[in-house]
């Protein structure tokens, strides 16, 4: 599986060229201004890349999970902020892929194919890691639902045309009363709250979404009432490797920048960095490669249609940790140059990888539960086989 097919290589190459041409040249400027980049959306619109997860029958690129990860790796290499914009748009689509009817898919994917972007709203001020404790409600009135509540830290929130929003249809049931809805931009009562100024991924747009008596047709409900938590969890299983992919790209970029800097700093072949630094570079390469292979393996599982929920958590956790470690090391290896250049952005960007789409602590909850189930069974099987 570690050999990419010709088609996958082509997708990777196209993404690499797109990133080199449209993302890398503006990344530092947008990081500084904290602006979202509509130009990027124009360019992306032409390439249909925001519809990479959309099936062919709806006019999308229909990329495999692995191909999507290859694209996101490149975007993470260029700018994890803009990569986050793409990843979050795909995330919103994943909910529709998980639970949408044909009609809903048609309706939701159509703007994506045109180059619009999507947004996914689950988190609330009081419901972060504890995603099931949200307070937003959707009350059925006739053939409509009326939405009320606040969502926070919503990526793409200020610029999306379509949203997937989670709200309680039955607050008395807690997270079992959670449901998922398609909400279109511009519905009366649906407004954008404060825009968050972040440590990193500053070119991505992170906002509050405010819902005050927002009427949406009942046909915008995804799945059944009460399916929300199930849909959200399946969506996040699919989406977490996207963060792993951005992380791999970030880590690779940090390594490449380190090498470039050291080669510039030590032009004389007789005066070269010692083994301490050389081996640090080797360690970085080992970790980037291990992270990439874990990611690709997870995507292979998903593409093969076998369960990948635990691997998804493993990949997100490990790749994010690797990105954080390597970007921080890169800044340190490059000294004040690293501290006063674009390299520092990589380190600021990397930190969110350990936080969003389920903190690495939440991933470890998933992983430790799986370990506690699997290990005794494996030992018992080994004992039995030995008898």
């Amino acid at each position: 599986m570690s050999n990419l097919t010709a088609e996958q290589k082509q997708i990777q190459q196209t993404a690499r060229e797109f990133v080199a041409k449209h993302i890398i040249p503006v990344a530092a400027k947008l990081d500084k201004s904290g602006e979202f980049h509509p130009f990027l959306v124009d360019e992306a619109r032409k390439s249909k890349i925001f519809a990479m997860a959309v099936p062919k029958e709806f006019g999308g690129l229909d990329y495999s999970a692995l191909a999507q990860a290859l694209v996101l790796e490149e975007w993470g290499y260029g700018c994890a902020g803009m990569g986050t914009t793409l990843a979050a748009s795909v995330l919103s689509m994943d909910s529709v892929l998980v639970a949408g009817t044909e009609e809903q898919k048609k309706r939701f994917f159509e703007p994506m194919v045109r180059g619009e972007i999507g947004s996914f709203g689950l988190t609330e001020p009081g419901a972060g890691s504890d995603a099931g404790s949200g307070k937003s409600t959707a009350v059925k009135v006739g053939d409509e639902y009326v939405l009320n509540g606040t969502k926070c830290w919503i990526t793409n929130g200020g610029f999306a045309s379509v949203y997937v929003i989670y709200a309680l249809t039955d607050p008395s049931k807690g997270m079992k009363g959670l449901s998922a809805f398609i909400v279109e931009k511009g519905r009366p009562g649906f407004t954008i709250g404060t825009v968050d100024h972040k440590l990193g991924i500053r070119s991505s747009n992170t906002v509050e979404l405010l819902f005050k008596d927002v009427h949406i047709p009942a046909s915008n409900l995804l799945g059944k009432e009460g399916d929300g938590m199930k849909i959200a969890m399946k969506t996040l299983d699919m989406a977490r490797p996207a963060i792993a992919a951005l992380s791999v790209g970030l880590a690779q970029r940090a390594l490449d920048e380190c090498v470039k800097h050291l080669q510039k700093k030590y032009p004389d072949p007789k005066v070269q960095p010692g083994q301490t630094l050389q081996f640090k570079l080797a360690d970085m390469r080992i970790e980037v490669e291990a992270a990439r292979q874990l990611l690709h393996h997870t995507m292979d599982l998903r593409d093969a249609g076998v369960p990948f929920s635990v691997e998804s958590a493993l990949a997100k956790d490990f790749c994010a940790d690797v990105a954080m470690k390597i970007t921080a090391q890169a800044v340190q290896l490059m000294g004040t140059y690293g501290y006063t250049s674009e390299i520092a952005k990589l380190m600021r960007d990397a930190k969110i990888m350990q936080i969003y789409e389920g903190t690495n602590q939440i991933q470890r909850l998933v992983i430790s539960r799986a370990v506690l189930t699997a290990a005794p069974a494996a030992l018992a099987a080994a004992q039995k086989a030995g008898k």
């Binding site: 404790s133 972040k198 000294g335 004040t336 140059y337 006063t340 350990q354 969003y356």
Partner: protein
Amino acid sequence: MSTHLTEEQELIAKNARDFAEEYLDPIVAELDRTDVFPTDVVKKMAEQDFLGLFLPAEFGGAEAGYVSFVGVIENLSRSCAAVASIVVNHSLAAYAIQRWGTPAQKQDYLPALASAKTLGAFAVYENGPTPGVGPDALMAVKQPEGWLLNGTKAYVRNAGKADIYVVLACTEVAAGAKALTAFVVSGAAVGLTVGEPAETMGLKGCPVANLVFKNVMLAESAMLGVPNQGMVIAAETLSLGALAEAAQTVGIGQAAVEHAAAYSKTRVQFGRPISALQAIQTLLAETVTDCHMARLGVLHAAQLMEDGEPFQTEVAMVKQFLARLGSKMLLDTVQVEGGFGYSETMPLPRLFRDIAGTTLLDAPADFPEKTIAAALLA
């Protein structure tokens, strides 16, 4: 050596903490945003003797020693590490003049440095792998009545604000580190210009820029120490610098862990404060342990310095420890605060950006390992 602070050292540290709460806490967020040199605060710190803390009393210093110095730096950094960076770089120039200056140089410079009538800066770093090697290395050429300097010092802290710079220049082409000599240069010297301030990730308010020397003529009396002594001067002075930066790192880490601990008690998830979760407790426990160990290392090295013992290996060990674990203190405390911790409306992102600066070196990144191994294998 004593592992307890004396009453005087406690008092000086406490005074610095009180000062920081009164004068630094209120301005730190704006300083971080505007990146404007805090002239008023520097004046106020001079009134507290923070700028001449270890200088002898005969030159107007507080003569309080290096343990007190690192105590003050840690306590200032708990509120604002950028302001501490200004003090540290100033103090390195003062240290070098105190240690290697002639009586005349001491009389000329130290009283003004102690009272912050003049601000100092220490400039070693260059764009080449080591000073004296790169294409724009600062070179000093002997003239009949002095020295002619040409070249660039890179990433100089306090650049543009300092009145005097202690710089290392190379006096022999291609001799590199062997022919480095220290000079005291006036900020007003003809031919000396300050480059564009670099945009740093953190420590905002402490300017960082290149110093460009174009036919800067220095009198013979500008030389600090003797010819070719530059590497010794740099190594010892930068060792004090590394010690002070370690103290800054400890201060930042302490501030972060206190903030994250307080936050964890108020953030309710899964029906209880996240401080009740063992995973969170472990992150906090590891951070506060790393911070404590680093502080002990800092105090130990400072005490050695105060006692006149060799201290460079011990400083290198602290630096090595913090190169591995310094930034981790902020990675883990931001993690405790999650999405809130990533928002620049909260204090941890500033501390994250600051600590990435205080764990850096003004030397190749393998310098601590080299120093420590050399001592072990000698």
